[in-house]
Symmetry: C2
Subunit: 128 residues, 2 copies
């Protein structure tokens, strides 16, 4: 069973995520921990990320190469991301047009929308 034990590894992993507000791979997190002299196994990084994801504390994203990356997130309101290709910085973007899109899909295709993925790529202000 899965419980909510507060452990050193979990705190350290959450700490790395808090320090870098962008999508990080398990390997990147593991490397960051090593550099901070925190000895946490890669398995634990994976398991903790899955744990945080199931709690809704973390968002998972597949990058272009198909690798999983993770970032802390506010599960509250649904939104999308504008991701800088240069530095990885992530800005939240709300999409007001979704209701209209759902309506249009139903009307033109008979398609019942129940989920979507959307993300925007480009260059953020400071990287320009």
């Amino acid at each position: 069973m899965r419980a909510d034990y507060v452990t050193r590894p979990r705190e350290q992993i959450a700490g790395v995520l808090r320090a870098e507000p962008r999508f990080l791979s398990a390997a990147e997190i593991h490397r960051a921990l090593e550099q901070a002299s925190a000895r946490v196994s890669l398995s634990t990084v994976y398991r903790t990320l899955e744990y945080l994801r199931s709690k809704g504390d973390v968002t998972e994203r597949l990058d272009e190469a198909g690798e999983s990356t993770f970032m802390l997130c506010e599960p509250a309101h649904h939104h999308h991301h504008a991701i800088c290709r240069v530095c990885g910085r992530v800005d939240d973007v709300s999409c007001a047009a979704l209701g209209q899109i759902a309506e249009s899909l139903r009307a033109t295709l008979g398609f019942e929308l129940d989920g979507h993925n959307m993300e925007f790529l480009g260059t953020c202000r400071s990287c320009r």
Copy 2:
């Protein structure tokens, strides 16, 4: 170098894609070929898919599990997909609002949009 030899395996793989207008994994294509008594190696399936993708004949999509899937596509106009969760049927969706979104991102975030991913999931008319 990469050339455009017309070979039996390439025709057979394209045939499978033509017969199933939805996103297929390399393994699914390989299985379909076996069932049709076409002996094509999995490596060749992968290589041919990459070849077709580089020609612009095929679109690649990472599914929820991070596996690559492929579908024939018209490279002509940019569009998005409405994918049925039940049967995998794919309908094209054009997104007229993109220009506005780009403008809004530039104005509010200073973000220079140069790419995006968008897909819509739900249930198609015939699966409802």
